[in-house]
C-alpha cells in the first residue's frame, strides 16, 4: 500500500521552521480553543438523544419488559446483543488504525492514531452499556464478581474487555501528555479548571530527553500489547456464540470471521470519522486526500478478507445443507430474512470490495458515502448473526403468540440503541473539544524525520 517513489523526490518539507510549527499548533488546537455555534448545537443534539436513551432505559426497567421490550423466550437476545457485538467490532479500530500501522511503519497513521484510539475507547464502553441494557437483573451486576465462574465465556469476555479498556485508555493517554503540555502553554481564555486539568494531567511534562525516551518506550510496549488484546476481545465475543450448540453459531470459523468483520468495520468507521473531523474542524492540511486513498485501499483488502470468511461461514455449510443447518440457512437465503441478508452481502461486502478499486471512488466524498453504507450494513450484519438463528431452533416453534415467533425491536430498544450511538459520538466530540484530536507532536515528528509521505502526496 505504501508508495516508495515518494521519498526519493526532493521536497520542501524535509524540516520545518519554528514559525511553521506554531501555525500547525494553532491549527490543531483550534477545535479546542473555539467552539462555534454549530459545534454547540451538535453537542446539544447528542446530549438530547442520550437523555432519550436514559429515559427509555428508565421505562424499560420500571415497567414490564414484556411490554417495553420485544424479546421473548425464543429470541431472548435482540438488538442489545447485536449492538454489543457491533461496538466490540468497532473498538478494534484502535488496533488496526493505530497499532498495526504504527508497527509496520506506515507513516500515514500519525494524524489518525488518536482519532482511532478515542473511538476505540468510546465504542468498548458502549459495548458494556449495551450488555447491561440486555440484562434481566442489572441490579445483580456485582454477582459477576461475587459468584463469577471462570468456566463461563461471559467471564472471559469481561476479563479481556476490562483489560482492553484499561490498555486503550493508557495508550490514548500517554501520547496525550506532550499535547496536554501544549494545551497548557498555548490555549488562552479558557476556564481556570480546564487549565488546571491540563497542568494536573500532564504530570509535570517538560519534554526532556529522558521523558521522551520513557514516553516512546511505554507507547511501544502498549502498542504491541493492544494487538493481541484487540484480537482477543472480538474472538472471545465470537465464542459467546460459538460455545453453544446452536446450528447458526456452531462454527470453528467464528473467531476469525468476527475479527475480519471488525477490521472491515474499523476501516469504514475510520473513513467516516476522518471525513467528519476534517470538514468540521478544517483540518484539510492534516487529513488529506492521501489518507482517503490509503483507507480506500485498506477497505478493499479488508472486504476481500471478510468475503473469504463469509464464504467459509455460509457457503460451505450450504453446500452440505445438513438437516441441522438447513432451517437457519434457508431462512437467510430464501426465507423471511433473505432481503436483509442479501442487502448486507451487497452493501456490506460487494460495494466496499469493488467500488474503491477505482481511483475516483477513493476521493473523500465518494469513499465516505461507501463507508457510511458499510457501517450501516455492518450493524445489520450483527443483527443477522444474532437474531434469525434464534427464531429457527432445532425443535420447531409451535403454539406461541405471534410476537414470540417474530422479533422486531420495540421503540424502547431502538431508542436505547440510538442513544448508544449518540453517546459514542458525544464522547469523541467532547474529547476533541478538550484535547487536540490530532496529535501535534506525532505529526511534527513525522515531518522532522523527513517522512513526508503525508505532505508530499498528490
Amino acid at each position: 500500500m505504501s508508495e516508495h517513489k515518494i521519498n526519493t523526490e526532493p521536497t520542501t518539507y524535509e524540516t520545518f521552521t519554528q514559525e511553521e510549527y506554531m501555525v500547525m499548533k494553532d491549527e490543531l488546537l483550534r477545535p479546542v480553543q473555539h467552539i462555534g455555534k454549530w459545534g454547540k448545537v451538535w453537542i446539544g443534539f447528542l446530549v438530547a438523544v442520550c437523555m432519550c436513551g436514559i429515559y427509555a432505559y428508565y421505562i424499560q426497567e420500571t415497567k414490564s419488559k414484556y411490554v417495553t421490550v420485544a424479546l421473548r423466550d425464543y429470541t431472548m437476545w435482540g438488538v442489545y446483543i447485536s449492538n454489543f457485538v457491533f461496538f466490540v467490532a468497532l473498538s478494534l479500530i484502535g488496533v488496526l488504525m493505530s497499532a498495526v500501522l504504527k508497527l509496520t511503519n506506515f507513516e500515514w497513521y500519525r494524524p489518525l492514531s488518536r482519532i482511532a484510539e478515542v473511538i476505540a475507547v468510546a465504542a468498548i464502553m458502549l459495548a458494556g452499556v449495551s450488555i447491561v441494557a440486555a440484562m434481566g437483573r442489572p441490579d445483580r451486576l456485582h454477582f459477576l464478581f461475587l459468584h463469577g465462574r471462570i468456566q463461563s465465556p461471559i467471564v472471559w469476555d469481561i476479563i479481556v474487555i476490562m483489560t482492553y479498556i484499561a490498555t486503550s485508555m493508557i495508550l490514548l493517554f500517554i501520547p496525550l501528555i506532550p499535547s496536554l503540555s501544549t494545551c497548557k502553554n498555548h490555549l488562552h481564555n479558557k476556564p481556570k479548571w480546564q487549565m488546571k486539568m491540563y497542568a494536573w494531567m500532564s504530570f509535570g511534562w517538560e519534554g526532556t530527553a529522558e521523558q521522551w525516551k520513557i514516553l516512546k518506550r511505554s507507547i511501544g510496549i502498549l502498542t504491541i500489547m493492544v494487538i493481541p488484546l484487540g484480537v482477543s476481545i472480538h474472538t472471545v465475543t465470537a465464542w459467546l456464540f460459538a460455545t453453544t450448540l446452536r446450528a447458526e453459531w456452531d462454527s470453528t470459523n467464528f473467531g476469525a470471521y468476527f475479527v475480519s468483520g471488525a477490521f472491515l468495520l474499523g476501516v469504514a468507521g475510520m473513513i467516516v470519522a476522518v471525513f467528519v473531523i476534517r470538514k468540521s474542524y478544517n483540518l484539510e492540511n492534516y487529513l488529506t486526500p492521501m489518507h482517503f486513498d490509503k483507507l480506500g485501499r485498506a477497505l478493499v483488502l479488508m472486504s476481500f478478507i471478510y468475503i473469504y470468511f463469509n464464504i467459509n461461514e455460509y457457503l460451505v455449510p450450504a453446500y452440505k445443507m445438513s438437516g441441522l443447518h438447513a432451517n437457519h440457512l434457508l431462512d437467510l437465503f430464501t426465507g423471511e430474512d433473505s432481503t436483509l441478508y442479501w442487502s448486507v452481502v451487497f452493501f456490506g461486502m460487494f460495494v466496499p470490495a469493488i467500488f474503491p478499486l477505482f481511483k475516483p471512488m477513493r476521493k473523500p466524498l465518494p469513499l465516505t458515502i461507501i463507508a457510511v453504507v458499510v457501517v450501516i450494513a455492518a450493524w445489520f450484519k450483527r443483527y443477522l448473526i444474532v437474531i434469525p438463528g434464534l427464531s429457527h431452533p432445532y425443535l420447531p416453534i409451535q403454539d406461541v403468540p405471534d410476537s414470540w415467533r417474530h422479533y422486531s425491536p420495540s421503540l424502547v430498544e431502538m431508542t436505547i440503541v440510538a442513544a448508544t450511538f449518540a453517546a459514542m459520538m458525544l464522547i469523541v466530540t467532547l474529547f476533541s473539544r478538550f484535547f487536540p484530536i490530532i496529535s501535534v507532536w506525532e505529526v511534527a515528528e513525522g515531518k522532522l524525520e523527513g517522512k513526508d509521505e503525508i505532505i508530499n502526496y498528490k
Binding site: S64, K65, Y66, V67, V69, L71, R72, D73, Y74, M76, W77, A134, M135, G136, R137, R140, L141, F143, L144, L146, H147, G148, R149, Q151, S152, P153, I154, V155, I158, L240, F241, T243, T244, L245, R246, L390, P393, Y394, L395, P396, I397, Q398, D399, V400, P401, D402, S403, W404
Partner: protein, 311 residues
C-alpha cells in the same frame, strides 16, 4: 367409584413407595411379621413393591416410613440435590394424544400462565413419508448440560440427583443459558403483567413443589422435575395429570419408573421398547428418554385449536 378408589390408593402407594425415599421395607421384620401373629396391626393395608417387582398388600404398621410427607427441601438439597437419587423420565410417544393435561398441570404447579410452558407438546414429523406424532418436551436435565457450563454466576447448576436447577435469587438474567440450550427448554420471566398479577395473588405456598421461584421477574426458569414433590415421595405434576399415562418418572438407581398406575423396570423398558434420547448427536446426554411412537394407543389427530394465541 370403587375402581377410582383403588386407583387412587395404588397411585398413593406408588408415589410413596417409589420416590424420594418414600418408604423402605424392613425386609426381615416384614417376613417375620407376615409369618407370625402381629399384635399391633393397624388394619390399614399398604401396597408395597418387592425386590422381584411384585405388588403385595401389607399392613401399614410393617412399613418403616422415613422422609415424612411434610418434608421440605433443605438449603443444601436445593443446590446439591437429594442424596442417593438419580431422577429419570421416560415418555411413551405411543400414548400421547395431545390432551395437554401435562402442560396445564405443570402451569398450575408452577404458578405460570400461558403462553409460558415448561413442558410443551409439539407436533413432530421426521420425514414426509413418516407418520406425525405428538412430542411432549420438558427440560431434559442433561448429564452434560450445555446451559450450566455457560452460566457466569453459577445460578444454574447440575445436582447430584440429576436435576438441572436454577437459583432464581442468583440469576442475573443474561440469558446465556437460554442461548446455550439446543432444545429451547428455558423460559425467561419478562414480567408479563398478567403473570406478575397472578403471582402476587397466588404466592408460592407449601403446596407447591418448586425449589426455585419461577415468579422472580428478570430471571430464567424452566422445568425442574418437581423436586419438592420428589422429596415427599410424589410424582411430578405432568406425570400425575396425564390421562393416558404417557410420562413415566423414577429413579435410575432404583431402576424403576412409574406413571402413577404402571411401574416398569427402567432398563427393561428402554431395551424392550427401543428407548432413545432426542438429538443424541449433540452429546448433551439427556435424562429424558423417549419410547418411539409405535403400536399407538390412539390414531394421530391434528390439533383442532390453536393454543396460546393471546399475547
Amino acid at each position: 367409584m370403587k375402581n377410582e378408589q383403588e386407583d387412587s390408593n395404588r397411585r398413593k402407594f406408588l408415589k410413596f413407595g417409589l420416590l424420594a425415599g418414600g418408604a423402605t421395607i424392613a425386609g426381615l421384620a416384614l417376613q417375620q411379621k407376615l409369618l407370625g401373629d402381629s399384635p399391633d396391626t393397624s388394619g390399614k393395608k399398604v401396597k408395597v413393591l418387592t425386590a422381584e417387582g411384585k405388588l403385595m398388600d401389607v399392613d401399614s404398621s410393617l412399613v418403616t416410613h422415613h422422609a415424612a410427607e411434610e418434608a421440605e427441601l433443605t438449603e443444601s438439597q436445593i443446590r446439591e440435590g437429594i442424596a442417593g437419587r438419580k431422577f429419570v423420565m421416560v415418555i411413551d410417544l405411543a400414548r400421547c394424544a395431545n390432551e395437554r393435561k401435562c402442560v396445564e398441570g405443570c402451569q398450575k404447579m408452577h404458578n405460570t400462565l400461558p403462553p409460558i410452558e415448561y413442558i410443551k407438546v409439539k407436533r413432530m414429523q421426521d420425514a414426509e413419508l413418516t407418520a406425525p406424532y405428538w412430542f411432549p418436551q420438558p427440560c431434559y436435565h442433561c448429564d452434560n448440560p450445555p446451559c450450566t457450563k455457560v452460566c457466569p454466576v453459577d445460578a444454574t447448576f447440575k445436582r447430584s440427583d440429576g436435576i438441572v436447577a436454577v437459583e432464581s435469587d442468583r440469576c442475573i438474567g443474561c440469558k446465556f443459558c437460554m442461548a446455550a440450550c439446543p432444545y429451547s427448554a428455558r423460559s425467561f420471566n419478562f414480567g408479563r403483567p398478567e403473570q406478575v398479577e397472578f403471582n402476587e395473588k397466588h404466592p408460592m405456598g407449601d403446596d407447591n413443589c418448586c425449589s426455585t421461584k419461577s415468579s422472580t421477574v428478570g430471571t430464567v426458569s424452566k422445568c425442574d422435575f418437581c423436586p419438592g414433590s420428589a422429596v415427599k415421595g410424589e410424582l411430578p405434576a405432568c406425570v400425575t395429570e396425564c390421562p393416558n399415562g404417557t410420562i413415566f418418572f423414577g429413579d435410575e438407581n432404583e431402576d424403576t419408573v412409574s406413571n402413577g398406575e404402571e411401574t416398569f423396570r427402567l432398563k427393561e423398558l428402554l431395551t424392550s421398547r427401543a428407548g432413545y434420547r432426542q438429538f443424541e448427536e449433540l452429546g448433551t446426554k439427556p435424562r429424558v428418554y423417549y419410547l418411539p411412537p409405535v403400536k399407538r394407543q390412539f390414531p394421530f389427530e391434528e390439533a383442532k385449536e390453536v393454543h396460546n394465541k393471546e399475547e
